[in-house]
Each structure stands twice: as C-alpha cells, then as structure tokens.
C-alpha cells in the first residue's frame, strides 16, 4: 500500500473538485436543505453524464468498473463541497447491493439504468437503532405460497422519497440465515414513505410496510442470502461515510484557518494567538489521521482483503476525529461560526449525522474489541 493516491484517483478527485466548485455553493446547500426533493436533478444529470453513477458498475452493465478507492475519491469531494443528493444511496448502497446480491437478470435490468442516472435506489434496514444481529431488523417477512408479505417500520432510509426502488432487508425468523433482501419498486401497494425532520436536513425517511405483498421475483438473489450481503455493503458504506467526512473536515479546517488569519482582535490576527494555533494544530492532526486511515482502509476494501477490524477502526476514529475537529472550528470562529450564515454550522450538523450512520463510535469499538478477541 502506498500513502499516495493513484494517478486515476488524483484525476478523479481533481475533476470532482472542479465540478463541485462550479456547481455547488453555500446558497444552494441551504436551498437544498429546504427543498422537497433534497437534491438538484440538474446537477444529478450532469454527474450522470460524467459517468459517476456507474463508477463501481462493471463495464458489461455500462459502468466504469472503477475501484472502491476511486469512488471514495469522489465522495471526499462531495463531503468537501457539501453536496446533497441520492448519490450515496444509489451508488454506495444500491448498486453495491445489486452487484453483491442480485441475480444476473436483476443486474441486467437495473444496473445500466442506474449507471445512466435514470434509476434511484436506496436501502431500508434499520429501525430505531443500528441492527447488530438479524433479530434487530425491524422488517418482518412472512412466506406465502406465491411469495412474501412484509410488515414493519424502517427508519433513516436515505432519499427513499425519491427512490425508484427501495431495497429492504427483512427477516422471516431471527437468525442470519433467515434474512432476505427484496427489491421494492416505487408505488408498491402498502408502502408508505415519509420524510423525517433531521438535524442535518438530509432526507432520511420513514418507510412503513403494511401488508406489502411481494413475489419471489422481488427477492434480491436467493431467499436467506441477505445478511452477509447486507453486512458487506454496510462495511463499505461506513468507510464511504469516512471519505465524505474527510472531505468535510478538510473544508472546515480551511474555513477555520482562513478566518483565523483574517479576524483581528487586540490589534492582531487571532491566528497569531497560541491558544488558537494549538486548536488549529489539533484540527490538522484530526484531519491528517482521518485521511490516512481512510485511505488505507479504502485500499484494502478495493483489493478485496477481509478487513472488518480495519473498517471499524476507521469508522470509529474518523467519526470521533471529525466531531472534535468541527467543534474546535467553532471555538476558533467564535460567535460568527454560530451564525446560520456561517457554513461551519452545516458541517457541524452533518458531522453528527455521519458519525451516527452505519454504526456509531461505540458500536464500532465493540466490533474492534470482539476482533481483538475480548
């Protein structure tokens, strides 16, 4: 493993940074937080045209066959720019679920559309907390002669309100072998989607399943094969969130240092005060360590090396470091950072949402502890 990004990742990253610096801005971020859809279809189309939706899709389904590390390079820029939209749910969750769990026919039917940006996906699996075992999954499936009936309430489903297909994890019993994944097309009878009002205004939804009848064709892959696929995708999702957080952290450090160089008190820039410098030095440490561990973990995931412990170390470290970093940013920026008009507050709210997504710090430390043989 090298500590340098590959040539292709560097190029991807630069083009993504270019793209978002043209397309995103502070006003738009705020607008989208209020927007019903929560994203800009115009930007979405442009992203699709560049080929980002099909980034991790193999060439045979019209994708770019890029690695997870390439995908992370773009996610980092999204985090940096404050991008909001169904990219994470469609690409990191959706296409990865299809690739890992779908039948050939399902891949052929959905991946090309997805790669072109014409099909939005998401994943419903959590209830009021991150499921640790199969028995925690909130959705219940009952087998019938001609298929299944699903019941239950899944929460925190990103961009479910605009998804063309919701992939959901449901259990027939309480063991891992009784978990299946289902493709639930938009408009399926008995499915009700409602947006939740969240701190980060990030379009996490409630999806209620009330006597939802699904045929066997709706099974993603085969019955009972869902749990390991779900786990594999959630591991990637955790690291993908880290990549977003690294981007956000980089932006916050830049905002903070720029401010510290300009803002004057007692006749000199506050950045010349040692207390402020030390806060900034700590922020730099949180950023660099997060970037290093995320990069290393992405490389392992991309190479297909088993790395559960590594993933959990990464997610717990970056979540914690990012939260501390943004907190220090607030300390440095004083009252101004507390104002709605300061972009810092956007990153503060999103840092917490990212920390809680796909396993929080305590959850991932528990995984590390188990991996240590404790």
């Amino acid at each position: 493993m090298s500590y340098e990004l590959g040539v292709e990742q560097k190029m991807l990253k630069e083009s993504a940074r270019d793209f978002f610096s043209k397309e995103m801005n502070s006003a738009l971020i705020r607008e989208l937080e209020e927007d019903e859809k929560g994203y800009s279809p115009k930007i979405w189309k442009k992203m699709a045209k560049i080929g980002w939706m099909g980034l991790n899709v193999p060439e045979e389904y019209d994708g770019a066959a890029a690695t997870f590390a390439d995908l992370a390079a773009i996610l980092e820029e999204m985090g940096h720019a404050g991008y909001a939209g169904p990219f994470f749910s469609t690409v990191v969750l959706g296409s990865s679920l299809l690739l890992k769990g779908g039948s050939e026919a399902q891949k052929e039917a959905l991946l090309p559309k997805l790669a072109q940006g014409n099909h939005l996906l998401t994943l419903a699996y959590a209830g009021q907390a991150e499921p640790i075992a199969a028995a925690d999954l909130p959705l219940q499936a009952t087998a019938k002669e001609d298929g299944y009936v699903l019941n239950g309430v899944s929460l925190f489903v990103p961009f479910a309100h605009v998804a063309d297909t919701i992939i959901c994890a449901a259990r027939i019993g309480s063991s891992a072998e009784e978990v299946s994944l289902f493709l639930v097309p938009k408009g399926t009878a008995g499915v009700a989607v409602q947006e939740l009002q969240t701190m980060a205004a990030d379009k996490q939804c409630e999806v209620v399943f009330d006597q939802v009848r699904l045929s066997r064709e709706n099974l993603l892959g085969t019955a009972g094969s869902g749990w390991p696929v779900l786990q594999a995708v959630l591991r990637e999702a955790a690291v993908a969130k880290c990549a977003e957080m690294v981007g956000g952290a980089r932006k916050v450090l830049k905002l903070t240092v720029d401010y510290a160089k300009k803002r004057e008190q007692f006749g000199r820039p506050i950045g010349s005060f040692q207390a402020i410098q030390h806060h900034c030095a700590d922020m730099l440490t949180y950023l660099d360590t997060s970037a290093l561990i995320t990069h290393a973990t992405c490389v392992q995931l991309a190479a297909g090396i088993p790395c559960d412990k590594q993933v959990s170390m990464c997610k717990s470290w970056v979540s914690e470091a990012n939260r501390r970093l943004v907190g220090l940013g607030h300390q440095v920026m004083g009252g101004f950072g507390f104002m709605e008009e300061a972009d810092l507050q956007i990153y503060y709210r999103r840092a917490k949402a990212a920390e809680q997504a796909y396993g929080d710090v305590a959850r991932h430390r528990e995984i590390v502890a188990a991996e240590l043989g404790l």
Binding site: R268, C280, T285, V368, G373
Partner: protein
C-alpha cells in the same frame, strides 16, 4: 496493517525478526530497560554490534558508509521492530547526529564517523539543553572561542542523556556573541572519553533513569571537529531534531498486547475483565489509536522516500504518539486497579511491573525532544501558515 516494503526489503525485515527471536537475552532486556532504551550500555553494544555490520541499523545509508541503500521505509520498519522487542532504540548517533553528518559533514568527517556509527561501534550524546535554554534552544550560552586550529569551550549543559555512556558529544555551542541569536550557534563533535576538562554528573529522573549535566572547563576541541559551517549550527540542530522526532512506537504496541492478554485471563468480582464493556471500549479505542500511529509513522518514511522532508508531520507523529502513551498508561492503571502500582521485582507484580514504571516514564515524552506545545506551534505555523505572535 502491513508495512509497504518491496520483496527484498521484506526479506531483510523477516531476517531481522528471526535474529531478534534468537539473540535477545534476559541480561540485554534488563540493561535496556534500566537505561530507558538508550544505546551505549555494555549488553546493548554487544547485541547491536552483532547485527549492525549487516547494515540493519542504518539500512537507508549509502553503502560506502555502512548502509544498504534501501528505502527509509525499511529503516523505519526495523527501528519499530527494535522498539517492539524493547532492545535499545534511542541512537543519538546513528539516527540523529548521523543523518546530519551525512547531510552537512565534510567527506573527511563522514569517513571518520559514519562507518563506526553504522556498525554500532560508537555512540553520541546530544548536547543541546542548558539551564537557560530548554524549549528556547536559541538562548544557549555555552561558549566556544575561536582559537584558529581549535575552539576553547566553557559552560554547562543539562539533561544530556547519553553523556555517561556515549563516546562523543554532539555539542551545540555559541560561536558568535553578536547579532541574532540563531546565527551564532555551531555544532562541535567532542570526544567525551579522551578530552580533559569535561565533567559528567548524574541527574536522576522520577522514573529512576539517568540523564546528566555536563560541565566544560577550558576544553580544547580541534577545528576539524566543527560540523558544516561555523555559525550555521541552528539549521543543523533543527534538521537533527526532525530526525529525533520520528518516534518508533513498537514498545507501546507490545505493552498494549500485554494488557490485552491480561484482560483475557484475569477476573474481577468473578467476571472476566474482557467482558467489561468499559474495558472493551477503551481497548478498542487504543487499538484504533495504534493503527493511526502506524500510518502517521510510516507516512514519514513514505515522504522521505519521495524526496520530501517531513516537518509538521514529524511533530504530529511525535505528539500523537506521546499523548497516546500517557492515555494507554493510565488505562492500564485503571484496568489493573491497585495491582498496577506494584514495581518490578515486587511480590505480586503484574506485567513485570511495567505499568507503574510507564505511568511515571511517559510523563516526559510530551516534554523532551520539543514539548507538545512547541510541536503544536510548528504544526500551526509550518503546517498551516498561521502568523507568528
């Protein structure tokens, strides 16, 4: 996480590991610990001189001076392996003064010292700090009067750790009393064992280890022992300090593993310690911090191998590691409870009494080699371009 080495280098590292597994004796470990892992003791010299001639102490040096011309990455890997095995790891000569001689010394000086440093035959002591010059190294006062073919040195140093076991002093002196302070400093190499007028006195630390104060009373140092240019010493000190700051961390990886193993076997109030949720969270946190340190450390080698000189990154590694050591030491004491206070050799001592010693020792790690505050200044000013006060 694996260290990024090429195949040949990986073979060298494997060979080093095999060698350590065979050659480390209880006597070596005892002396090494007693000297807080500095090089220069009798057992340490015996051990190091068995493997250093293979080029393992200075693998990234040029072959003509005793290296193997490998990457820095291998050097970092071997040093960390040494730390992990708790053999001497602080080489003021091979790893601090040596790289500076390599960079700034004359050909004659390189030939004189580098091969002997590479084989472990000689060791240096770093002579920077003085009573009035700690963090503010520029304030140093030890005077070296230019007498043409030699310098006449007078004054006092404090905290010169290797001075009682080393062969040479890497001595920072004032050679110009006028002008800006940092433009009047030079570096001299002084033969500590054969030069009249030098007195070395012990200063004992709260960890029971020894450092020294060193007095120079009309000491004659030949001019050819001047490193680089006269009055340019501050630059060399800063460079050598950057090398000093690249702290291996294997020692603490080992300690972590020992604590981990302990919690798996010990019980408290009838329950295994390993099942205590607080302990699980804490140890997972420390395992994660060790992983972060792994990357901070080997990234320094990566930078060097790519022609860059780490500056703020070295400060970051030093701070992150040294602050971690204090957290880990405290966690160990919390897990062990009253047993943690038992010293090496005491009845009932656990983990060979390391916990209480490390709890005392790690206090200095955020102070020497440039305090945590100084490192943060460097990160803010060199790393982020924030203005000086």
């Amino acid at each position: 996480m694996k260290i990024p080495l090429n195949q040949e280098e990986q073979q060298v590292l494997d060979e080093v590991r095999r060698f350590f597994a065979q050659e480390i004796t209880p006597e070596l470990l005892e002396e090494s610990h007693h000297l807080e892992y500095i090089y220069g003791g009798e057992e340490g010299r015996k051990f190091v001189q068995k493997f250093a001639p293979k080029g393992w102490l200075t693998p990234c040096w040029p072959k003509e001076y005793g290296g193997l011309e490998t990457s820095e990455m291998l050097m970092y890997a071997i040093r960390n392996e040494m730390a992990y095995h708790r053999v001497p790891i602080h080489f003021a000569g091979a790893h601090m003064a040596g790289p500076s001689i390599l960079r700034y010394g004359t050909e004659e000086m390189k030939k004189e010292y580098l091969p002997r440093l590479a084989t472990g035959e000689i060791e240096f002591a770093l002579g920077y700090s003085e009573p009035a010059a700690g963090s503010d190294l520029m304030a140093l006062e030890m005077h070296a009067a230019d007498k043409g073919d030699h310098f006449l040195v007078n004054g006092q140093k404090t905290f010169n750790t290797h001075a009682h076991v080393a062969d040479y002093h890497w001595l920072a002196v004032r050679t110009n009393l006028e002008g800006p302070k940092h433009k009047g400093i030079s570096i001299l190499i002084v033969d500590l064992k054969n030069t009249p007028g030098i007195t070395v006195r012990p200063m004992i630390t709260m960890a029971g280890t020894r450092t020294n104060e060193v007095f120079y009373d009309n000491v004659k140092v030949p001019r050819r022992n001047l490193v680089g240019e006269v009055n340019s010493g501050f630059k060399y000190i800063m460079a050598a300090l950057d090398f000093e700051r690249m702290f291996p961390w294997g020692h603490y990886k080992k300690y972590f593993e020992e604590i981990l193993a302990y919690t798996k076997t010990a019980t408290r109030n009838g329950k295994p310690l390993a099942k205590d949720p607080l302990i699980r969270q804490k140890l997972a946190e420390h395992a994660t911090e060790l992983e972060v340190i792994h990357h901070l450390y080997f990234n320094l080698a990566h930078l060097l191998d790519n022609g860059k000189i780490p500056n703020y990154q070295a400060s970051m590694e030093k701070n992150f590691l040294s602050e971690f050591e204090q957290r880990l030491s405290n966690t160990a004491m919390e897990i062990l409870g009253p047993m943690g206070q038992l010293k090496t050799g005491s009845k009932h001592a656990v983990l060979e009494g390391f916990p209480e010693w490390l709890y005392r020792w790690t206090i200095i790690e955020t102070i020497y080699g440039g305090s945590a505050e100084i490192q943060r200044n460097i990160m803010a000013q060199r790393g982020l371009g924030l203005p000086r006060a």
